[in-house]
């Protein structure tokens, strides 16, 4: 597929890399020659120098042959204009990044009028992600599958955990099939578990649990499940603004630390119920004064990654709070993982996942599209949700153990008319089911791709 990316910033580069990995032809447009040359030197993509809102530049970038244009410059207005021109001139699909909260309020109207296929807002996505983590504080990551009503949670197994030393079969019988372990990480190695795979303290596991069972399962696993009533947030950017809105709706107290006085004023006006503190969030004294040692949860969401990492390490040292760190640059993901910061949220990745899912659906004619896609652990594992359509007859009605599924692929959950089944080899897929699949195999676009 021919894809044009307007804007060679962090989001643009992440997208270009992810989409190139899926073997699409990428052309990137930017006004900065040096940035463009660096990008073209690092990836097999083409660069076009110029303003993406100019029709001539878009034509030079091949908009007439393009299937999709993604506008992710720093300016919302430019993004929308680029999309509008591309839509009118070439009729391709367009995706714009819109992140200014005042535009985002009317986003449905804008989307409809401009003919945008999709609007991405990394800050909003990050806020939602952080919000979910605050609801289940004992999890390192929470990913939701809305169609099938299940969540995927990631934990680290603690030494006193009942899971320590058990294999999958024992885990299943202990929990009565209400939870399925779909990924085990140990010392950087990723395993999609089988019945005999053993768990050990220190392993990180990702599990699929039906939403209604989460509380019960967490109780059985002896994990903390006290709901959080108050949150302290360092940094008052857009993410914080979105997050505070979400938290206040469910009655959580929010305290925001922001160093810019003007921004404090704006936040105080827009979020009257939140407590906005003017002060440098990296100042130990202010953190002490505002009660970090007794905080229930601490979100590091300043604009500077290094600061966020330092704050997270410090907070973990002085308090028992649930710590969530926002990191914008994805270049050092594995190093960040080694730091054991707890929960880390990457706004860029969340956005890229959505776009990759959209592109895969665009390139798939059969209609068995990926409904939800998560690229986990540096893109080494993908978790996907599908709705089984009549066109997937090749995989329906056959027992899973006889289907010849791909190696390292696990069918984690089947939602059959509201009833959630944790599948065994005896189960079948039926038309109308919603299934969740976890795999290390790359580039699955269609439900039919799950068999060898």
């Amino acid at each position: 597929m021919n894809i044009i990316v307007v804007g060679c910033g962090k989001v643009g580069l992440t997208l270009a890399r992810q989409l190139r990995r899926e073997d699409h032809a990428i052309t990137i447009i930017d006004v900065d020659k040096d940035r463009l040359e660096a990008a073209v030197g690092a990836m097999d993509i083409q660069g076009v120098l110029g303003n993406g809102t100019s029709h001539r530049v878009l034509v030079e970038a091949g908009v007439e042959q393009a299937d999709l244009l993604i506008a992710v410059t720093d300016h919302d207005e430019q993004n929308m204009l680029a999309c509008l021109i591309a839509k009118k001139a070439a009729g391709c699909q367009v995706i714009a990044r819109v992140r200014n909260p005042s535009y985002y309020e009317d986003i449905d109207f804008i989307k409809g009028e401009l003919g945008l296929s999709m609007v991405i807002n990394p800050e909003w996505a990050a806020a939602q992600d952080i919000y979910r983590l605050l609801q289940i504080p004992s999890a390192l990551d929470v990913d939701t599958f809305d169609r099938s009503q299940v969540n995927m949670l990631r934990f680290q197994i603690q030494p006193e955990s009942p899971l320590d030393g058990k294999n999958m079969m024992a885990v299943n019988s202990m929990l009565g099939g209400r939870m399925l372990v779909c990924i085990r990480e140990r010392e950087g190695q990723i395993v999609i578990p089988r019945g005999s795979t053993e768990l050990r303290a220190g392993d990180k596991i990702s599990v699929i649990i039906p939403r209604v069972e989460i509380a019960a399962v967490l109780h059985r696993l002896k994990l903390r499940q006290v709901p959080i009533h108050s949150v302290m947030v360092a940094g008052g950017g857009s993410t914080t603004e979105y997050l505070t809105g979400l938290l206040q709706r469910s009655g959580v107290q929010v305290k925001i630390l922001e160093s810019n006085m003007d921004r404090c004023q704006v936040l105080a006006e827009r979020l009257p119920k939140a407590q906005v503190i003017h002060g440098d969030s990296t100042d130990r004294q202010i953190l002490q004064e505002e009660g970090l040692p007794n905080a229930e949860a601490f979100v590091c969401a300043t604009g500077i990654d290094e600061e966020n990492i330092m704050l997270a390490l410090y907070a973990a040292r002085v308090s028992g709070a649930k710590v969530i760190t926002k990191i914008s640059r994805i270049d050092f993901e594995e190093v960040v993982e080694d730091l054991n910061l707890g929960s880390v949220v990457y706004p860029k990745n969340i956005t890229a996942e959505n776009i990759v899912r959209f592109v895969r659906a665009l390139g798939n004619a059969s209609g068995n599209n990926v409904e939800t896609l998560y690229q986990l652990l540096d893109g080494r594992v993908e978790a996907m949700e599908f709705v089984v359509q009549p066109s997937a007859a090749a995989v329906t009605g056959i027992k899973l153990q006889e289907l010849g599924l791909k190696k390292d692929l696990l069918v984690c959950c089947i939602n059959r008319r509201g009833k959630i089944i944790t599948p065994t080899g005896q189960d079948t897929l039926e038309i109308g089911d919603i299934v969740v699949i976890v795999t290390t195999a790359k580039g699955i676009r269609d439900l039919g791709d799950i068999v060898r």
């Binding site: 052309t27 690092a42 990836m43 097999d44 083409q46």
Partner: protein
Amino acid sequence: MNLSMIAYIVGCVLEIEAALMLLPAGIGLLHGEQTGWAFLAVAVGAALVGLIVVLRRPKNTSFFAREGLVATALSWLVMSAVGAIPFRITGQIPHYLDALFEMVSGFTTTGASILLDVEKLDKCMLFWRSFSHWIGGMGVLVFMLAILPLAGSSGQNLYLMRAESPGPTVDKLSPKMRSSAAWLYGIYLGLSLLDFTLLMIGGMTAFDAACLTFGTAGTGGFGTLGSSFASYSMMCKVVTTVFMLLFGMNFNLYYLLIVRRFRDALKMSEIRWYLLVFFFASGTILLNLRGAGILGRDARPIDAFFSVSSIMTTTGYATVDFDRWPTYSRMILVAIMFSGACAGSTGGGIKISRFMIYFKAVSKELRRMADPPAAASRSAVL
């Protein structure tokens, strides 16, 4: 420096050369020449050695400008060294160093030869000599980029293309390196086939037509006769004049024509300058020859065009002995040898585009002297 990756690339090049050697082997066997077996033997040897290297695919595939340069240089050395072996073992060229000279000259499309009488060589040897021009013209690494998924989706293989391509800047034709390389080779192959067909129509034997096409396409200049081009028909001379000129043009032009971006094609100023230089040089030589009374006696108009085309693209075919032309004509020929062909073509020389940059810088400097406060854009040079 990632040595294992360089070794891997050179290994791949060896494999490709082994495959290419099967062609002269086939020609030799077709003409009943025993020397054809030499190619087969060397091909098998090279394939085995290459296989040993290639089977150990390096874990670390990172690859940068430095590796690109080294891999390219090394590939050509290895190709020449291996390509020279058949000449030596069959005794067609008794000394290995002479054979190596011939092969390096072939792969670099220089066209200089140590042979006094090329007609004494076997057909398959002559074929391999000319074929090396064709391989060298577009570059075997570009060929590799077109067929091998070398470094996957990373941009690193652009370093290989940059290291091998002539001219000041290198751009891809399409977003994917692989399809860019495929385009380039497609255009190269298409033009060569056309040239070959037209030469056949002009009355050449298939063997001569093939060899001379190789020499024209790579702008190399190895022929099959001692007298170079003098004895061929008028049509062959005209066809070769045109095709030497065509292979000296920036290949982006053909790409733009094929994808029907005619306006962009017309805007390629390098092509316009290139044609201007060609017609100016040919015209002034014609006038000079007529003034000296040579035209009509020792030379015909086609000879002037042919010589200019041949020298400008550094091909080196000749229809007449232009050393006996007047000084003015010879000076013009020397000048266009320096200016050379277009960047992004198979032709040699300093390249028209570099001269264009130079002249534009000079004119900008002059304008600045005349009107110091005038602001000139930084990129005005290009």
